[in-house]
Subunit: 212 residues, 2 copies
């Protein structure tokens, strides 16, 4: 069993650890750092998560559900609106700049074959690509999107752009991420729209992109 106080503390530790690890990486963040920032002893961190790896997994659990709630908030098949959603997500980075790049940092740190986190991160990546490809395929079937585009390749491209932008945000968070992404999204919609290529795109009622 866990008390109210216990689960509160747990959540706080996850929040603190997420922030620190997103900045300094898992290897660059010590349990003592996290404990100090949260105002508890280092042993308390171990008490709650067993091992450091347990803590990282808890962080990933929290992030997975959070990010899922953002990108798939309109259900598993937003169609072409996915570009608008992505655009809004990037625009919201400014609200929690410390958390941006967490996944990229963890991936970069855990690519070694022997690393315990690798399978989880790889599965997570594949799942997101599959979901993206699926909604793109549906868009094609509904006639919203051109049929001569490979959905899987496009899904890989979208995810590459997003994670690459996170990396860029890490090196210099003053880049115009929101504006760049809003232009990118508009361009994608214009080019992928089923009537694109001829005389321009008549944007449907869901194709609008928020301005960065």
């Amino acid at each position: 069993m866990s008390s109210r106080r216990g689960s509160d503390r747990r959540e706080e530790l996850i929040a603190v650890a997420t922030r620190l690890i997103a900045r300094n990486g898992s290897r660059g963040t010590t349990l003592a750092d996290i404990a100090h920032e949260a105002g508890v002893s280092q042993a308390a961190v171990v008490y709650h998560f067993g091992t450091k790896e347990g803590l990282v997994n808890a962080i990933l659990d929290a992030r997975d559900s959070f990010e899922d709630g953002l990108i798939w908030r309109d259900g598993p098949d937003p169609g072409m609106r996915i570009f608008g959603i992505i655009s809004e997500i990037v625009a919201s980075w400014a609200d929690h700049p410390d958390l941006v790049g967490l996944l990229g940092v963890l991936i970069a740190e855990n690519v070694g074959d022997d690393d315990a986190l690798r399978p989880r991160l790889a599965a997570n990546y594949r799942l997101t690509v599959d979901r993206l490809a699926t909604t793109l395929r549906s868009s094609q079937k509904r006639g919203e999107m051109r049929g001569d585009v490979d959905p899987q390749a496009k899904a890989i491209e979208i995810l590459a752009y997003l994670s690459g932008l996170e990396l860029a945000w890490l090196v210099s968070s003053d880049i115009p991420a929101a504006a760049t992404t809003s232009a990118w999204a508009a361009e994608q919609i214009a080019n992928l729209g089923s009537d694109a290529g001829s005389s321009g795109t008549t944007a449907g009622p869901g194709n609008s992109v928020p301005k960065g």
Copy 2:
């Protein structure tokens, strides 16, 4: 002074360290790992590079000149051919899969404010964005590329795609990186070419019209 034997050893150490660090990160790779792989003592590594940071800087020096030779091999202003060049670079990843992602890994590991490598990595990123933006701007002036595209935003987008694809390669190197990139490049050329349909949906109000 340095002898033939000395500089050979130095180069070998850089090669070994590059491979190991691209996989396991700087913090995840010990001097002993590198020394063992190269068949020397750990103290020999310190002898050649002074400190671990010195070694990482030597690695970055080597990578900088190597990558520069690839992407800017046709001079500083390849124009729209930049997309073909990038496509070829990604296709060549299969030849040296262990080295892909080195820069991304180092960036992800060194985002902390206190980190000594951060300024160098940030400067490197900015330089590449500037170079890309410059050649895109030149393309616009020459009339090869549409005038209603922000060169800097496009440069950021291109670099984000590339580094994001490297990250994806890290988690699963069996993704169709080359095919995805060649499709991406073709799409970019088709959409950015000055004769591409420029009416319809684009970001921002008031599309500027290219001269001539």
